[in-house]
Every structure is written in structure tokens, then in C-alpha cells.
Amino acid sequence: MRRIHPLQWLPSLLVLAAFILLWWLASHHQWVSKVFLPTPEATWFRLLEGVASGPLTEQTLQTVGRMVQGWLLACGVGVVLGAMIGISQNARAFLQPILEFIRPLPASAIIPLAISIFGLGPNMVLFVVAFGAMWPVLLATLHGFASLEPRLHEVSSALQLSAFDFVRKVVLPSAMPDVLAGMRLSMTVSLIIAVVGEMIASQPGLGQAILLAARSFRADELFAGIVLLGVIGFVANALLGAAENWLLRWQRT
């Protein structure tokens, strides 16, 4: 992404401000019913209050915790499983078709199965988050094995690298851009499924909070929750983007 001169941020900021002004007008002049659309200042007030007095902060931390735990699990399992399958031609031939079949399955569709197995608890949510977020990482790792430069294979056998070292020193670094991109996608998936899981299993967190707010027609609380979820998504993406830049700095020579 190109660096943007600070002055060029100004019009961009003004456009955003204009949209917020539009929101203000729409809510104050009742162009949209107050039941759906709170005023911006009510949302802001609710947000400040919720963060200051605790419940929103707590719910945010709970959702972030679920998301990060599931994501870490997904990354770990995805890379290890991907490496185990990818290292052997045979395993790839046997397992790739079924993986390709399961991949387009919406991760949320296994929630009912997970409920039957784990019950309506935090473990169920964690399992579904990890399951859903695993695919981008797993497939990126597999793709890394499949698209490995053939000469690297020859170099590693000439160096008599063990299978473990081959994966660690050759394949993973060369697959790193793909895997990192997969991890970023995984994070987005993790947040979505964590929220859905909280809604269904009534686990404490922002997902449950916004559902309850909507059911009791507290639009300002609902919007405060949506804003916080947007912030979580934004920050997670920005952090991973920065981590990606840093981890891949050796590639830009």
C-alpha cells in the first residue's frame, strides 16, 4: 500500500465526517425510525459509559479472547496438519479431494454438530472457531508444498536434511507469504464465528450483548457493540498486516 501524505488524509476525514453528519441528520429528523437508528451522540455516550463502567470492556475482552484462542489453535493445527499431509505425495493424493469437498462448507453449519458433541459451552464455540479458521491456513500450507521450487527439493536432499528440517527451513519460509495471507483471512473468520457462537450458545461477549440489545430494542447499545466489533476487526487486521510486513521483510531485497 502506498504511503499517503498527511494532508491527503484531510478530505478523506471530511468525507467520513460528512457521513456521520448524515447519520446525525437522519436520526434527529427521524428519517429513519429511532427504534433502528440511534443518534451518533447516544451511541458514543453508550460506548463511553459501557467502556468506563466495565461491561463493554469485559465483553470485548471475552470476544477477543475467544477469537484469538480459536485463531491460534487454527494456525497451529492448520500448519502442522498441512505439513503432515503436504510432506507425502500419497497423503496428498488421498486427502486432498475430501479437503476440497469440505472447504466450501460454511463453518457455521457444523455448529449444530458441535453443540451435540460439546454441549452449549465455551468449548463448543472454541471448537467451531478453530475448525472454521483452520482452512485458509491448512490450504495455504498445502499449497506451499505443492508449489515448492523443484530445485529446493534437490538442494535439501543433497544437504541430507531431515524431514523436519526440510519443512522448517525450506518449505515453510517459501510458503510464508501464502500462509500469512491465510492467517489473516483466518482472523476474519475467527471473529465472525466467535460472534455467531456467542449468539447461539449464549456465551458472554459482544455477540450475545448485541443480540440482547436488539431484542430489547436498545438501539444505542446495539450500535455501540457493532462499532466495537468493527474496531476489533480493524485493529486485528492492521496488526496482522504490520506483522506480515515485518516477517516478510527479507523477501524485499
Binding site: 478523506s12 468525507v15 466450501p104 453449519a109 455448529i111 449444530p112 454438530l113 465472525i192 436488539a214 457493532i226
Partner: protein, 254 residues
């Protein structure tokens, strides 16, 4: 030839073994499980769901809502994205608003959509449209930026009106990339539609599988799960096929 056939069969080994193990487990040690059922019983449930029409009805609802939301999100996203991509100034000015709105997880809007529309098609389609809109906008913006400058010069030389410029020059030049975007949109739309049904909307495939779970009917639940997987695979494969057909028809210049 025989060798090729044998190779292509290898992919079937694992599923068959898994199904056999599941069959054995669900008939033996896990007979009273609420989570697992023998695949043969699941198959019977699937046939039953086909027979009583619930399968067709649920699939129709889910696919219909996903398609409606996709259509809205795709058209709006492509139009706005094209504008932001063609005009460097618009792109710069809109940048922050797009970056602030884009990371909002689509499922966060489920409660809001519930509040506005109640349950039904419109609620589901609106969440799908929101989810599809942002990636389409970003991809269309990138596609519009990559339209050959000479084509735009031709449009200037011909003194085309802005509408003619858009519909005769810019959009045709973007077509292959737009179909790549559409394929992504199809995948997102289906996933979000099922998710909305599982989380809230009492219609369609997602609700059917939740209901099967809640009525402790693991065979039916696995049948729905299998059907959702098949449908997801088929829809994605279809979108991929269309995309590659279009890419070839357009000279595969992507």
C-alpha cells in the same frame, strides 16, 4: 487408463473408510449418541427430506436469499468501486470511510437486520448484501484502476458521454476481473446466508439443521450437514466454471 482410474479413486478411500467407521461406531459403542448416527440412517433421512419437500423448500429459500443479497451487494459494490477506481480523487476521499466500514463483521448486523426487517428473506438478504458489498467494492476498484489507459484515451477521443464511457469501455474491460469477484461473492453469500439462518432466521437450510439438532435427530442433522456441503461444493464449482469460461471467452487477458 486403468492406472489413471485407480489414481482418481484414491481420493474416495478416506471418505469411504470414515463412513464405514462411523457406521460401525454409531451402531455399536455410540448407539445412544445424540451427535452421531449411522450414515445409512442419515441417507434414509436425506431421502425422507427430499420426499416431503422440505429439502427443496429449504434449499430454495437459502439459495434465493443468498442470490438476492448477492445481486444487491454485487451491483452496488461494483458501481461504487468502479467510481472510486476511475477517479483517483474519489478513491482518496472515500478511502477512510471504506476502511472504517469494511472490517465490521457482517454477522454483527444480524441483530440490526432483525430489528429492522423482522425474520424472513429481506433480513437475510440485507446481511448477505452487506457482507458481499465490501469485497466487491475493493475488487472492482482494483479492476477499474487496471483498465488500460489507452482505452480511456480512446473514450476521450471519441468524446463519449460518461454513461457510454462506463458501459462501452470501462465495464467491458473489467469483465474478467468482475467474474473473479463474482465467484468470491458467491462463496461469501452462501456462507453468510447459512450463518444468518443458524444464528437467527427461522427459515432455510441453516434453520433446518439447527432444528434437527434441537429435536435430537442426529441422522437428520448429518443429512442436512451433508446436503449443505454438497450444495456449497456445487455452487462454488459452478461459479468457478463460469469464471474460467468467461476468462477464456475474453481471451484470458487477466
Amino acid at each position: 487408463m486403468a492406472r489413471v482410474n485407480l489414481k482418481s479413486l484414491r481420493g474416495a478411500v478416506v471418505p469411504v473408510v470414515l463412513l464405514a467407521v462411523l457406521e460401525w461406531y454409531a451402531r455399536g459403542p455410540g448407539k445412544n449418541s445424540d451427535a452421531l448416527a449411522p450414515p445409512t440412517e442419515a441417507a434414509a433421512s436425506l431421502v425422507g427430506a427430499v420426499g416431503d419437500g422440505s429439502l427443496l423448500q429449504a434449499s430454495f429459500f437459502t439459495l434465493g436469499s443468498a442470490a438476492a443479497g448477492l445481486a444487491v451487494g454485487f451491483v452496488l459494490g461494483v458501481l461504487l468501486g468502479t467510481w472510486l477506481g476511475l477517479s483517483a480523487r474519489a478513491g482518496r476521499w472515500g478511502f477512510l470511510t471504506v476502511e472504517v466500514m469494511r472490517p465490521i463483521p457482517s454477522v454483527a448486523l444480524i441483530p440490526l437486520a432483525m430489528l429492522v426487517y423482522g425474520f424472513g428473506v429481506r433480513m437475510e438478504a440485507s446481511v448477505v448484501a452487506f457482507a458481499v458489498f465490501w469485497p466487491m467494492l475493493v475488487l472492482a476498484q482494483a479492476a477499474a484502476r487496471q483498465v488500460d489507459l489507452r482505452l480511456l484515451e480512446v473514450a476521450d477521443a471519441l468524446r463519449l458521454s460518461p454513461a457510454a464511457r462506463l458501459f462501452k469501455i470501462v465495464l467491458p474491460a473489467m469483465v474478467p476481473r468482475l467474474f473473479v469477484a463474482l465467484r468470491l461473492g458467491v462463496a461469501i453469500a452462501l456462507v453468510v446466508a447459512v450463518t444468518v439462518e443458524i444464528a437467527a432466521n427461522p427459515h432455510g437450510l441453516g434453520y433446518a439443521i439447527m432444528l434437527a439438532q434441537q429435536s435430537l435427530d442426529p441422522a437428520l442433522m448429518l443429512a442436512w450437514l451433508f446436503w449443505i456441503a454438497v450444495l456449497g461444493y456445487a455452487v462454488n464449482a459452478g461459479a468457478l466454471w463460469v469464471q474460467s469460461r468467461v476468462a477464456r471467452a475474453m481471451g484470458a487477458s487477466v
